[in-house]
């Protein structure tokens, strides 16, 4: 393979390749440090973090589905101080790529506080603000299903950081484009989409929902075409970069997401099925690019 260029540039930050494990499917990176060399990854989006430590939801938190899975972990995390003083510095010691902090909150003020703390952490490169978690009440997705509240969160975090701010959006909306545009107008540097689709499974023998929280976020290959459509819509409606996410499981899907307009591509549920998914995809990309006549991934972003 002659000189295939996998690198992309995201808000001025060069990623060695567009492959980024999605928040919530890769812990804080450290959990997989013994499984493969993390430095093959373009970036790592860390587990969603709130101001205080959270245990999250009761178990069962996981339900298998056809071509995917539902989860309702409920933002289990050690809190923002543990992220900035422990997790991110520990990851930086072993990882050279882009470290993306995923920030959650229960109020506009909490989002701003957490982003200010992350801004002060030199080991964090990009802030990904999660206004789309379907598994917590009174927070998360409530902020991402309406253009005005998504813009309010964006403005508040924009005011406290000079690091690139991506807003991670929910697909559980009528008009994804109006919300993405509202975030761009409020100062977002990029958009990550999509988070999980609100779903449900019932155990017909026990006559109760499989997941203790009753509903959960559905992800996996089944959602890929819907996620791809939303990436395509938003990438063409906005002038800020998009990190595409949703059902990506192989190198072909990465190319498809980039052709639809994604600058970087996140891998989510597939990590749970195959912890080697990201390095396997990265390894497969050069030969696939060769067969498709692609020399540089940058040249295919948004060609559709």
């Amino acid at each position: 393979m002659v000189n295939k260029d996998l690198s992309v540039t995201l808000c001025g930050i060069r990623l060695a390749n567009p492959v980024v494990p999605a928040s919530g499917t890769f812990g804080f990176g450290l959990e997989l440090a013994d499984t493969f060399d993390l430095n093959v990854l373009g970036g790592i989006s860390l587990k969603g973090t709130t101001r205080e430590a959270r245990y999250g939801n009761p178990t069962p938190r996981i339900a298998e589905c056809s071509a995917g899975m539902s989860n309702s972990v409920g933002l289990q995390n050690p809190g923002i101080e543990a992220l900035v003083s422990d997790k991110a510095p520990a990851l930086r010691k072993i990882y050279r790529g882009a470290i993306i902090a995923n920030i959650s909150g229960y109020s506009v003020e909490e989002y701003a506080h957490n982003c200010a703390r992350a801004d002060a952490c030199p080991d964090i490169d990009i802030l990904e603000v999660n206004v789309s978690c379907p598994n917590v009440h009174g927070g998360g997705m409530a902020f991402g299903t309406d253009p005005a509240s998504a813009a309010a969160v964006t403005r508040a975090v924009r005011a406290v950081t000079r690091k690139p701010v991506f807003i991670k959006l929910s697909p559980n909306v009528t008009d994804i484009v109006s919300i993405a545009r509202a975030c761009e107008d409020a100062g977002a540097d990029g958009i990550t989409l999509v988070n999980t689709f609100l779903g449900m499974r019932i155990d017909i023998r026990k006559r109760r929902p499989v997941i203790a929280n009753k509903t959960g976020g559905f992800s996996g290959p089944a959602i890929f075409p819907v996620a791809l459509r939303m990436v395509w819509q938003v990438a063409h409606a906005c002038s800020i970069p998009v990190m595409g996410c949703g059902g990506v499981r192989r190198a072909e899907d990465v190319i498809e997401m980039m052709m639809a307009g994604a600058t970087a591509v996140q891998i989510g549920a597939e990590n749970l099925r195959n912890p080697m998914a990201c390095p396997e995809i990265i390894t497969a990309l050069p030969a696939l690019m060769d067969s498709l006549g692609i020399d540089s991934l940058q040249e295919i972003i948004g060609i559709i």
Partner: protein
């Protein structure tokens, strides 16, 4: 954690709804008792976590019960078929914690991981007694294998068809084995009763619906006396004092 291909050497029913699967690979397998493998099944999205019952130089022995679609599909798999496994998952039992004599208490399929533990304890020179509980006689498995190691095995069945009628705790009371610590695996109410009834140190192997099986999705976290713990990576084996029944 390692990801590798295994081929099915055998896959046979050994008791009611219970199968024994032997899987071989092309390199040495090092796993400790209480650890588990996570098996990718064709047509099913998530892997199936199954505890290791014994290790071979180049393979592992598993027991599984048909409880749903995935395990039903497993029961139809033929020798020669290849399966993608994650191995070396979980914390495992700690046989070195036993001073002289150990009591192993298994309920139903929970007997499986105790077999490798029994061999590890014997290698350390500890004496081992085994108590196994089943609902009925046709569910009994592994009892003869434990006996062929030379170990005393006390059985309990709920219907009284074999051994002591009642719970494993009734069989412990009837058999009066000597032990300074115990190890248990089985249904949660059984393990709770065992931990209440026995006042020595003990370890329990828990079960939870898992996502990744390797500690990075936080899908199987439980509250313990030591705070939130992931059953897959911090467990599945916990000290009895850590479990909040």
């Amino acid at each position: 954690m390692q990801k590798s291909l295994f081929s099915i050497k055998s896959n046979d029913p050994v008791a009611r709804d219970t199968y024994r699967m032997v899987l071989l690979t092309d390199r040495p397998v090092t796993m400790r008792s209480g650890q588990f493998v996570d098996i990718a099944l064709p047509e099913y999205y998530l892997r199936r976590p199954i505890s290791v019952s014994d290790t071979l130089p180049n393979g592992i022995v598993l027991y599984y019960k048909v409880v749903g679609e995935g395990t039903r599909a497993m029961s139809g798999m033929q020798p020669g078929m290849q399966l993608d496994l994650l191995t070396g998952l979980g914390s495992g039992f700690h046989p070195e914690k036993c001073r002289e004599s150990a009591l192993l208490v298994g309920g139903g399929l929970g007997a499986a991981p105790l077999f490798l533990l029994a061999r590890e304890l014997m290698n350390l020179g500890r004496s081992v007694s085994v108590v196994l509980g089943f609902n009925r006689a046709d569910e009994i498995f592994l009892a003869e294998e434990f006996r062929s190691l030379g170990l005393p095995v006390h059985l309990a069945t709920m219907d009284g068809s074999v051994g002591t009628k009642g719970f494993v705790t009734d069989a412990v009371a009837a058999g009066r084995p000597a032990f300074d610590c115990f190890y248990t695996c089985g249904p949660l109410p059984m393990m709770k009763a065992v931990c209440r009834a026995l006042d020595t140190p003990g370890e329990v192997s828990l079960e939870e619906r898992m996502g990744c099986g390797a500690g990075f999705c936080y899908g199987c976290s439980i509250q313990t006396a030591r705070g939130p713990q992931r059953v897959c990576a911090d467990g599945p084996v916990f000290d009895k004092e850590d479990v909040l029944w």
